[in-house]
């Protein structure tokens, strides 16, 4: 499979059709994207039902303005609809693809607002971003719940200052220079923290995924 191919590789190396449904019998997200790329708006509805709470959470967290979240959430799913054909399962899961779009669109909105208002990108004294998983995480399917548990476990292993660098970079869209300014740390320190945090996170996620299998 060519990882650079932006279009969906429909052929599976095992000479079988790609997974089309989850263990519970519901259509798999990748299958929904495939149907969306073929013009099936009902598949978009299913994807929305399944993921709107997550997309909404990310958008609200980044915007910090719940009243403006609707438009962005709509644009996230709209982009998914228009670009479903570009989803490449070789590059990652459909959920990750969708949540990456959510982050990008929310940050776009924040940056646009910032340009207009010359306000800081992120709010002060906000609640912790990464919180312990709620019991059972109602509204999440089993795979998302498991993924969330793994991510939170991996994050909990990071030193607080490294987590902070990740949070400010990922959810606030701050550059490393801006993070340095915000935290009062030298730029080199922030770069090192980011690098170490990402390396540790990558290793931990890999290990936890293997343990979960």
């Amino acid at each position: 499979m060519d990882p650079s191919a932006p279009t969906p590789p429909y052929l599976s190396p095992s000479a079988e059709v790609p997974p089309v449904e989850t263990a519970g019998g519901a259509p798999a997200d990748a299958s929904l994207l495939q149907r969306m790329s073929a013009g099936d708006e009902q598949a978009l509805g299913v994807l929305y039902d399944r993921w709107h709470a997550y997309v909404h959470a990310i958008v609200v967290r980044i915007l910090q303005r719940p009243d403006e979240a609707d438009d962005v959430v709509e644009e996230v799913f709209w982009q998914a609809w228009r670009q479903a054909g570009r989803f490449d399962p070789a590059r990652g899961s459909a959920q990750t693809w969708l949540l990456t779009i959510a982050r990008s669109r929310a940050l776009d909105r924040v940056r646009a607002v910032k340009r207009r208002r010359e306000e800081p990108l992120d709010g002060e004294g906000t609640a912790p971003i990464f919180e312990a998983a709620a019991e059972g995480d109602p509204g999440l399917d089993a795979e998302a719940s498991e993924r969330r548990t793994i991510v939170l476990a991996a994050l909990s292993d990071l030193p607080p200052e490294q987590r902070e660098a990740l949070e400010l970079g990922y959810f606030s869209g701050l550059s490393q220079s801006e993070i340095a300014e915000r935290t009062g740390q030298p730029l080199g320190t922030i770069k090192t923290r980011t690098r170490l945090a990402m390396q540790k996170l990558r290793g931990r996620l890999q290990m936890l995924r293997e343990v979960a299998r």
Binding site: L11, A38, A57, R86, R103, M198
Partner: protein, 293 residues
Amino acid sequence: MSHGMTHEETRDTLEGLSLDALSAAERDAALAHVATCRMCRDHLTALRDTAAQLAYGVTPLPMSPAQRDRLRGRLLERAKADRNPTVDFSLRTPLATTADVIPIEAAAEPRHLGRASNWAAMAASLIAVLSIGMLVRTWDERDVLRASLGAVAVSRAADASALEASRVAIADRDRLIANLTGPDVAVMTLAANPGGAPSARMFWDRSVDAWTFVAHHLPAPRPGRTYQLWLVTASTKISAGIFTPGPDGEAVVRAKYALDRNALDAVAVTEEPERGSAQPTTVPFIVGTAATR
């Protein structure tokens, strides 16, 4: 940092790049190196995947039922109005006309795809077989995209995502042109079974294992059903994906799959349940053989 980065310098920035936390100059310099370095590209892909996982760290926040339903309704309405059932990247017009499609009976297909002389003959006749309009349109699209990219780069006003989208689209058009016209492309023509209007062509770019299927005049599948594309070998039938044609009966499916040059016997389309089947469950209604037997 506006000039090139060394490999080592780039490696040190990839974590920041994966979070999109570099300055514009650093990002451009790092990306310039990444574009030429497979090792850095792979590392960046892995880091981006890791960064994307951070999204799972937030607590899901359901909307109110009214808010949720309002948004859902709006989205489905937009999607319905926008519906573009061709499988691939906004190709809204036919890539080739029926007149350009050679019926399978009339095509002087080689007996075996693997024979060099037959492939050479197919390659030699490629220009005659291909729709010139299709290529011109694809080239035109690429040129428009290039112009768009230039404008974006010059103005510096567009955001990074628009720039990246243009780059991806251009690369995709370039790939499509190569997949249709490359020196190692084999062309198979599919015709309706037992005869009729639907027709299609499969372009197999064996140098990169790329398959491009272009179909015309396909009727809509029955409710609850979809079309499924198959690569047929002597030992198995390999699904090349499900698809639904547009209102005009046109469809394009692109896929990557490595197949031995001599293995392909035929390409076929069947109608299947809407989620597809592991193996064909109906008689192919459009089929093209890779070898005459």
